[in-house]
Symmetry: C2
Subunit: 294 residues, 2 copies
């Protein structure tokens, strides 16, 4: 098989790390004050912005193929799903999901009847509007839900969000370095030609390292079974989620999800959230069923 010289792009890496640092300082401050009311609202604002940017990238990606999903209605429904998670606390559910979907269906489909000038692509366009709303709305809505969870330890939500990010990022970084230096056997050449089995295993190793680090520090209540299970679960789901987003980009014929606006050194929003979008619901399901969080 083809073999390229191992090479780390140092210039891009510098921009990438700088951006990560700036974002990191903001983000860790938010986690530090996680129990304050304003922190929940700030997190909400960040998630709402990310939903808008993510739906925008999906919309632009689909337009490359001639489809015409709606940025406006997709974002509105995504925000509706986010609002459901923001408002559903302490056994109350003032904006139930069935209501979001009922109003969402009227908004997306009737909106298309009146405002979509390209009804020749009605079926795929309206379907992709929904996909954007679901993908970003649930993916980031579950982050909001996790951030707002409360328990006996202070800042429980912040701890879980930190665990979500550290487990995912440790995996991403390990995959990058292991794949670059040791990658031999292609993982999914049809979908993502740069990925190797070595990188995927490195990814899981990073996930597990991250999970046990979290157990040793901010999540002292986790058993070693929790750390093992979460490392493997989030690692597998995150990597498959990454591949899913790659298939979408390939099917649209774009290499990078960012279309115009990008996070410096990090590409588009979709490229950044693709693992987290699947990992967040799975982490919530785990702490819901295993640890009784609600």
């Amino acid at each position: 098989m083809e073999r390229t010289t191992p090479r780390v792009d140092t210039k891009n890496m510098t921009v990438r790390i700088t951006t990560a640092l700036v974002f990191g300082v903001f983000f860790f401050s938010l986690l530090w004050f996680g129990d304050r009311l304003w922190a929940s609202w700030t997190y909400l604002a960040v998630m709402a912005l990310a939903i808008l940017l993510g739906v925008r990238e999906m919309t632009l990606m689909a337009r490359v193929r001639g489809f015409s999903p709606s940025l406006a209605t997709g974002t509105l429904v995504g925000w509706g799903i986010l609002a459901h998670f923001f408002l559903a606390t302490g056994g109350q559910d003032p904006l139930p999901l069935w209501l979001v979907f009922t109003v969402g269906a009227l908004v997306i489909h009737f909106g298309a009847l009146f405002f979509d000038a390209n009804l020749e692509e009605a079926l795929p366009s309206q379907a992709i509007t929904w996909l954007g709303a679901l993908y970003l709305g649930f993916g980031l809505g579950f982050q909001q839900k996790l951030f707002m969870l409360q328990d006996t330890l202070p800042r429980t939500g912040s701890r879980l969000i930190l665990a979500l990010f550290i487990i995912t990022w440790f995996g991403d970084s390990a995959a990058y370095f292991v794949g670059t230096f040791l990658g031999r056997h292609k993982l999914a050449p049809r979908v993502s030609p740069k990925k190797s089995w070595e990188g995927a295993l490195g990814n899981l190793g990073g996930n597990l390292l991250g999970a046990f680090l979290m157990q040793a520090t901010v999540c002292p209540k986790w058993t070693w079974v929790d750390a093992l299970a979460l490392g493997l679960l989030l690692g597998i789901v995150g990597q498959l989620g990454d591949l899913v987003e790659s298939t979408w980009k390939r099917s649209a014929g774009v290499k990078d999800s960012c279309m115009g606006v990008s996070i410096p050194g990090h590409g588009g929003v979709l490229d950044r959230v693709d693992s987290l979008v699947f990992a967040a619901p799975v982490l919530f399901a785990y702490v819901h069923f295993v640890h009784g969080f609600n």
Copy 2:
């Protein structure tokens, strides 16, 4: 504008009415025994079958365009949404929607990674799989929910389902006859060339007639405001829902949603449920917010 001779296709009409009678006898028996446990289960079986057939029609329709949505995963997720509505009774919610969507996302997207041979169309295909699951799952899931509602009057759910069908059918029939004999001004030539403004107004007249008939007979608790509001709401939403389905068929280049299997004289399942799918959630939302049903 173009003018065709008013004409009622009597042969097709005979088959159509015969099928409607057979279905009607089965259906009214089910409504008659609406308070029995087996009736809920039978209704569930009918809804599950309709979801399967409806997702199948959407899948085949999309395949005409070269997309490859998954019948298996779309049906499974549609059934998951139906099961949520079936199980959510008396304040209990053993299969919450967030769980259906979390598992559904893994099933649809990871399923596509492993089993979709046509990943060149990954974005529209996976989006259309979701659209089928949402459209049929919520559209028919809300019927199940309505059918199982209980109140002081016996068979409350049956009364609401009867109202849903009568209001919709009276509207459809009125539109057909008024449109055939008086139709002059095209309503939406781009989407559904046969529809006229006269037919649409006839539709609303039929909806209102149906609603006041229901108020006078099986829904004695409705005020005249309820009858007026429900006639107008279900009529408008039902007609727009009908147009939405037409845009999908047009975008796929098919005239009839039925692909192979059809209901004799009635075309495909999608053509039969297109108004109901939007009307059912709106009827539930109305009785939830106005009459306090839960």
